[in-house]
Symmetry: C2
Subunit: 275 residues, 2 copies
């Protein structure tokens, strides 16, 4: 016996494929930007080296997305152009769309299932991170090295204040669909309380029209890593009577820790790591 | 404040890159096999459709590797050729090599760190799954549709009995390095006790020369899914005094559940899902 067990909740793959395709087709491209990642100076002189870089960088990206890589501080220097191409080309939008389609397929099944205990006392909730989950900071990273430069808090805060981060189209679609299904949408971000106004303005600018609550870091959260801060807030949500069925985030630190959502959905982010 | 916190354990990236490269270079190709996944009949007639499939299938594979996809029963029909090409080409070996390099980088640091409590009473252990972790069943799946056909227990058991599954070169390297570092290597497989002899023969054939113990499913494990079965066995290891620092497996069901290893490493597998 091979020990293989079919899961009971295999989704309707056809529906997912169609949805993912339609989302990819409707995804808007990242705005054209000044490129600050230099093209590989060896390009043209060594096709084999380019191919080796492409192969390695794709594997490095997978190791980031699966959390195999563990903590990391910068995109490997040989992968700067790879990350730029990934973010600017169709792959980032496609990967995001499939992740969001997975989330929606689960959400529909989960609401229908009795197992989550859909009693009057429990309110079904979905938690979203903000940066690289609802809003894209690609235009900022496009002029700041696509993750190959050290994080600059000053310039990033200026970008946040401008409140012009574009939407992530497949996330906006998921968001609206979840609200239509009756989910309470809770936003849980590593941004700080002093950025509440800019964040709300940006969310509205990006097409997110309403939310149950927007939770930002408070002064007493300083020094907590994201796992601790976000886990504490999820515990508080449960204490308030929310049943967190789903959680979408671009960092594993958005998703792990106790309590966890029934299902968590990792959105792609090859640009930076937050512990 | 952006809430970004640097992890304390950022590895030596340069070393990892070099190791990963050397492993990729030494990885042997999957043996040539009869192809049973038909080439896309529309190939040549529609380059746009091919490109859309390639884009989607790569995103589908990421959703599998991140567990976003949840339970799934077969490779999407449009992705059959994609999975074949992934497994036969350099990407599978590259992705495996980077995952194994991540594991080795962690292992070296973890043994050196005091935090795991390396007292005389705790023995550092590393758990490995067997199929698609130490041994490759690619030659079997090559003649059985690369995951696009329903699982056939009879023919798979015949393949197991033949004991000719080739090694996964980067896993063998990790395995030997871990033993050199002093780890107790424990093999925990979904294969059944009646397959012990064939499994041991195959492991020796593939270059794995010794192990602390090889744990297979017993009759009383029938009906347990992999998460339950493997979690119970990890708990037993800890009760015996092993400290499970690392766990390598190609399925999330090898890795999740309580207790978990300090760090878990997901090896790639786009061919099948085990709950």
């Amino acid at each position: 016996m091979h020990g293989r067990t079919q899961g009971a909740a295999v989704g309707d793959m056809t529906q997912r494929l169609l949805l993912a395709l339609s989302l990819i087709a409707s995804a808007t491209a990242v705005p054209a930007v000044i490129r600050t990642v230099p093209d590989d100076p060896t390009a043209g002189s060594s096709g084999a080296a380019d191919a080796a870089d492409a192969l390695f960088c794709d594997s490095w990206r997978l190791s980031v997305e699966t959390a195999n890589a563990g903590p990391w501080s910068a995109v490997p220097s040989r992968c700067g152009a790879f990350v730029r191409d990934y973010m600017e080309g169709p792959r980032y939008a496609s990967d995001s769309a499939v992740a969001d389609a997975d989330a929606l397929a689960f959400a529909s099944e989960a609401l229908a299932a009795a197992e989550w205990g859909g009693s009057a006392s429990a309110r079904p909730a979905w938690v979203f991170d903000v940066d690289e989950t609802l809003l894209s900071n690609a235009p900022y990273y496009a002029v700041n090295g696509w993750g190959s430069q050290e994080f600059n808090e000053t310039s990033f805060d200026e970008w946040v204040d401008a409140a012009k981060a574009p939407t992530l189209p497949s996330s906006l679609n998921l968001y609206n669909q979840l609200q239509g299904l009756g989910f309470h949408v809770i936003l849980l971000t590593g941004r700080s309380e002093f950025q509440r106004n800019a964040t709300e303005l940006n969310l509205l600018f990006a097409g997110y029209n309403s939310w149950e609550k927007l939770i930002l870091r408070q002064p007493y959260d300083i020094g907590k890593n994201a796992v601790q801060y976000k886990s504490e807030r999820r515990a508080a949500m449960e204490a308030e009577g929310f049943k967190i069925l789903g959680n979408s985030g671009d960092q594993w630190s958005d998703l792990i820790g106790s309590p966890m959502a029934t299902r968590s959905f990792k959105l792609p982010n090859p640009m930076y790591f937050i512990s």
